[in-house]
Point group: C2
């Protein structure tokens, strides 16, 4: 396991300072290997540095700065595996079209172009797309259940940008420039820390804040349904995309990860089971039309046949998702 | 019908010097109006100037040069209607990924961004996408018949780029920045003149050259099927996209125009009916694997329910397509 060993892995995680990226980094560092090959170096690129526990690992190097500025030099570093998680989030992209196009589409293309310049078929490239690609149109209402061949009709700029990146990843893969694998992530909950600018942020805060004894606002109606996944299941999906054999993985079309379908009121039922009525009563409903419209336009029921054939599964229920969060946060 | 009359139309055709663009221009000039409003100015943007018969019309102005350089100034001219036909063609895009991304994706985005800066909801924007968006993957083989909600899984960079532009047009439309309408064109045949760099070029040359007493090479097997449309039907589809009421048009998802499904051997049967055995015998089969793979991956059977509900129809048969060409060429 030296730097010169070609059987070791050099891995890049963009968005490696964020919640999912840092968690993915921790999981990889704990395992120590991917596809049976020891991880010798893990580069975490993000606007913010990785958390201290991750940064202090001697295999870790932080590449702090805007990805669009770093893409060219990073791309030429001969990575074996890239997890491309960095992105502007949904509400930011809806508020500022140019920011979203630059952060999501242009940055992904710059990274792909840098990687292809290295030649030799490029690294395995796991792209985190999103359930937000799905939506409905006047002529094409969204089906109640989403299948692997359902046409995405995104109704947010974020969803459009993710879908465009899926197309780029598929085409660069078809051309043999990278070995790309796009996975559509469900809404990840429960996220720790402060709310971010994602429209789906409340799907964490209506659980997290009450468990911490704080008030939370739910901007959508109780019957609003969502497809969610715990952080652990989400990381499992990303690692499966990295490690599946080409035969098991299949084609270059994006793979939709499994999601647990829950309504907000079911989430609050689970919260009450785990933490009592007082916790539930800390959640106040106050409708935000912008968020309700965005989230209400997302799909919430998925067959995910291709993901299940890879051994991936949704969380069993929302109570177990809350307990996973409690345990990890020491609550 | 003066320049100052707000009920007149100012129209832009990108790719207005090409075969389809010039034909569209001629049709518009002959009609003199669109959606009941007189056409006061028709700007034809292209690398090449429009043909003399079009250029000499006093309503026509040529904007000759690369569209990516002209997009910003053109976009600010307050057009009522834009037909965006300009594109690098399929074989070029497959040979040179960067050229395709620049000519197709970046140019479309530059044009859309210039148009949105004018404000006021932007012009009606008809984007010519392509049947080439359809394809199949290991996990998602292409269905035998394509419906309006079939997931495109493009297997060429050209198809990917067209599909990306459809997404941009839909998102800019959803945001109220333009009034965009994407139509997927079938392979247009019979094209006059010299072959271009489109992989589908032989679908014209195996008819055109024999009718002109010349030899032609068919690079695919006789049983290869394709979905084709005559120039006239194609122009009808573009004009319908420009003139349909918002209610009749429906959502922002791309509309697939009707196509006539024919095999190469059926095309040659029709050629023989129209021009005799000697004409058919001028076609020699010489397989080109690159072209056969690209064209063989395209869809060839379409339901086109949404297009038919707008009153659009495929050509009745290939004999009538050949006769249309003969008549127009004075053959």
């Amino acid at each position: 396991m030296t730097i010169d060993n070609p059987n070791t892995m050099k891995v890049l995680i963009t968005g490696g300072g964020g919640f999912l990226g840092a968690r993915l980094a921790r999981t990889i560092l704990q395992r120590g290997h991917l596809s049976g090959r020891p991880v010798r170096e893990l580069v975490l690129a993000d606007l913010v540095p990785p958390p201290p526990d991750v940064a202090s690992d001697e295999r870790v190097r932080a590449a702090t700065g805007a990805l669009i500025d770093q893409a060219k030099t990073l791309g030429q570093e001969n990575f074996d595996l890239v997890f491309h998680l960095a992105a502007a989030v949904s509400a930011e992209c809806e508020a500022n079209l140019d920011l979203g196009l630059r952060s999501n589409v242009d940055t992904t293309r710059a990274l792909l172009d840098a990687l292809r310049e290295v030649g030799g078929g490029g690294p395995r490239f796991v792209f985190s797309s999103s359930v937000a690609v799905f939506g409905g149109d006047v002529d094409l209402p969204m089906p109640r259940v989403i299948h692997d061949d359902t046409l995405p009709v995104p109704q947010s700029s974020y969803g459009v940008q993710k879908f465009i990146c899926e197309q780029l990843v598929a085409d660069y893969t078809r051309r043999g420039l990278i070995d790309g694998r796009s996975v559509r992530l469900m809404t990840v909950t429960v996220r720790p820390g402060r709310p971010n600018a994602a429209a789906s942020g409340f799907l964490s805060s209506i659980v997290r804040e009450p468990l911490n004894g704080q008030q939370a606002v739910c901007p959508v109606a109780p019957e609003t349904a969502a497809a969610v996944a715990s952080p652990q299941r989400t990381i499992e999906g990303l690692l499966k995309a990295a490690e599946a054999t080409p035969d098991a993985w299949g084609g270059a079309t994006a793979l939709t990860l499994p999601g647990l379908t829950v309504s907000v009121s079911e989430m609050l039922d689970a919260l009450e089971v785990v933490a009592g009525r007082a916790a539930r009563e800390r959640v106040r409903f106050e409708k935000n039309e912008t968020i309700a419209k965005m989230v209400g336009g997302w799909a919430f029921a998925f067959e995910s046949a291709r993901a299940r054939s890879l051994g991936l599964a949704a969380d069993p229920d929302f109570i177990s998702i809350i307990r996973q969060f409690q345990k990890e946060q020491g609550l």
